[in-house]
Amino acid sequence: MFIKNVVKFLLGLTIFAVISLLYALFSSPGGFKMGGMQTSTFDLSKWSIVQFSLFSIQFGLVVFLVILYFGFARKSLENEVPEETHKKIEVFEKKYFWIAISILLVMLLLTVAIPLTTNQLAQARDNRTRISSSDTLIYAHAFQFGFEFKTNGTGSVTNNTWMPTLTLIKDKLYEFVLFTSDTTHGFGVYSPQNLLVDQSQIVPGYNTHFLMKFTETGVYTIRCMEYCGAGHQIMETTITVA
């Protein structure tokens, strides 16, 4: 009975969903159009060590598992292991239960150490205590859809009005005070090579203190890292580092 009702209902659900999709596509203000593909460059030499290590771990594992899948798992699935092995395994299990537990515990203790060593946390803790001298303090206002800055005479900037971009000095530690006047945004810092090097969220109602040292000269791009509405994709600006 339940299944019969469900099957009837599914027919209705499908029709309803498809009509809704078509309605949405045809009624949306921009409509839709067919276009060409985009072109782009793909330059491995710009990858940093982080990207490379992530990449190798990830794809090394894929290869490993594919080999496992075809070479090993399938065969052993089809072979039966004799009954006495089952018995042996049971004895083994009992004996090594506590060893397994201790290994897990040690791993656990090690994990506690890891977060304590990251930059992020150092920065997070700094937040509360640190207020830069006024010449390295920068207010960054995020809004739908853009950024603007205000400084107290840093770099080549001399006045106090809101500016769409900044020029800053290499290897100097800046303190950004990030805030938003509407919804949540992000503050993603992209190096001149277009790699994401640091980021923070900007939560409404809070000032986020974000420390940043620009270690290369060139043009950094600041991009919004949290979906914030219909113009999220155009929300970016630049910081020139001299």
């Binding site: 019969k4 969903a17 793909f42």
Partner: protein, 497 residues
């Protein structure tokens, strides 16, 4: 052997959820595909439309397919493992229809009203979009209904376990603390993850429901704004455990299927596994803050605590993988479509777990947060990993119930390999784009230096969508002729009619 009536009933319920969910998946992946083609510039839609599509895609694929079907297949798995009837079949039906009402509201809110807050609709985005308030209202109410269904789901599991005469503490794995001999364990291992997610979802959903109801009242103008940081914490307090609402039932299904297929009563390493689950019981609801490491305004102890507890919750996964692989390796198992999906789940669960640990580590998270790396991670987990097991169990029950042979249908392998090749390829491209800093939820594939991968992923996404549609067909076709199913049942079991 004659099948018990309550098992047949649970099977019917599970099938109802499964065929509904798989249809929803078919729709959802089409939306994802359209969104990606727009990013590549092939088929361009407006940014608002793009965001509407990924909002609904995320919600329908994750909740309408993943969560909903994991819930649905729980009924069969639970009843089979406990060998006892459900507490209330009426409630299980109510959960279904209530959920479906919610789904219809989500479709109205997004397709008709243009709601595009993303599937997490991070507060207060709902109030800063270019869609009308009624769209937000429908969306929020739709999610509330889904939430109600989820709470009732948890309740039904716990009630079923109690009415079958088991202790809840035993069901959460605490047997392993008391008894050292596995032969003394009474609670069936396959129901352990189900019981844990049952209690977990009740605990996780209630604070989130508060946020949703608050938001609904704010839409109606009854209350003022809420603290955005508090809202974010409430969201992720629920947001991580809800992923377990797919994972844990799937693990239960794996245990059950492995035991059924190998003819064993217990898993290898069952004590360790139960111990792992009892730890999961304790920490499952305190890991959500690993989604908000980049909120530098929060006190430092929150991310530290969250990173450690995230590592801890990896333990049940590790011991489960050990137990499952160990059990499979020492027993003989037939190699067919169902076991192929089973093995696939195990492999991608492990693989996605690795990227999960990477991004749960703050030092890495800063480079990948809100990048396409995250998107790659959860598609590896949800599509290649967990969905495979949902297909496996779903097909298995449908086959069993209707007598229609799915696993030897010549399309079955086409579906399997299309999804595997397609999804492994397009998620790899997302991984690479994400490592570079490619931003997720971005109508334009930003930064533009890797858009070649966006273009390249299109044919693979098409292949995956095709494979999924094949599976939709395989799952639903047996129900084209309902009379035939009745005839099959009469033939199989003439006495009961």
């Amino acid at each position: 052997m004659e099948e018990k009536d309550f098992i047949k009933e649970a099977k019917e319920l599970s099938i109802g959820y499964f065929i509904t969910g798989i249809l929803v998946l078919g729709l959802a992946v089409l939306l994802g595909f359209i969104a990606r083609t727009s990013q590549s510039g092939m088929f361009v839609i407006s940014p608002s439309m793009f965001y509407t599509l990924i909002t609904l895609h995320g919600m329908l694929a994750f909740v309408g397919w993943g969560t909903f079907v994991a819930m649905g297949l729980t009924w069969y798995t639970l009843v089979k493992a406990l060998n006892a009837p459900l507490h209330s079949v009426k409630l299980v039906r109510f959960i279904y229809w209530n959920f479906m009402t919610g789904a219809a509201m989500l479709i109205i809110g997004s397709f008709w009203g243009g709601f595009a807050g993303s599937w997490v609709f991070l507060y207060p985005i709902t109030f800063h979009g270019n869609w009308p308030a009624w769209a937000s209202f429908f969306w929020t109410l739709g999610v509330i209904l889904a939430g109600v269904s989820i709470i009732l789901y948890g309740l039904e599991i716990l009630l079923t376990i109690r009415s079958a005469g088991y202790s809840l503490w035993d069901s959460w794995g605490f047997e392993s603390w008391k008894k050292s001999d596995v032969n003394d364990y009474t609670f069936p291992i396959a129901a352990v993850p189900l019981s844990i997610i049952g209690i977990g979802m009740i605990i996780a959903t209630i604070p989130f429901a508060y946020l949703l109801i608050y938001q609904l009242l704010e839409i109606l103008g009854v209350v003022g704004t809420m603290d955005a940081l508090l809202a974010k914490n409430l969201l992720w307090w629920f947001g991580h455990p809800v992923v377990y609402l797919i994972l844990f039932p799937v693990v239960g299904m794996i245990y059950q299927m492995v035991l059924d297929n190998t003819g064993r009563k217990r898993l290898i390493g069952e004590r360790l596994t139960k111990l792992g689950w009892s730890i999961a019981f304790i920490v499952q609801n305190i890991v959500g803050a690993h989604h908000i490491y980049m909120d530098l305004v929060q006190s430092a102890w929150i991310p530290i605590f969250s990173q450690v507890s995230t590592y801890v919750i990896v333990l049940p996964s590790v011991v489960s993988l050990y137990a499952i692989v160990g059990t499979i390796l020492i027993a003989k198992i037939e190699w067919n479509l169902i076991t192929k999906y089973l093995v696939t789940t195990i492999i991608f669960w492990f693989l996605a777990g690795i990227s999960g640990i990477i991004q749960a580590t703050m030092a890495f998270n800063v480079f990948v947060h809100n990048s396409l790396y995250i998107v790659a991670h959860f598609h590896t987990m949800a599509l290649l990993g967990l969905s495979s097991m949902l297909f496996a169990t779903g097909f298995y029950i449908v086959q069993d119930y209707t007598g229609v042979d799915i696993q030897n249908n010549r399309w079955a392998n086409v579906g399997f390999w299309s999804i595997m090749i397609g999804a492994l390829s397009f998620t790899s491209m997302w991984f690479i784009q994400g490592m570079w800093g490619g931003i997720r939820r971005d109508a334009l594939s930003t930064p533009t230096n890797l858009t070649i991968l966006t273009d390249l992923s299109i044919p693979f996404m098409l292949l995956t969508v095709f494979g999924i549609l094949v599976n939709v067909y395989l799952a639903i076709r047996p129900f084209a002729n309902l009379n035939q199913i009745d005839v099959y049942h009469e033939e199989k079991n003439p006495s009961t009619n």
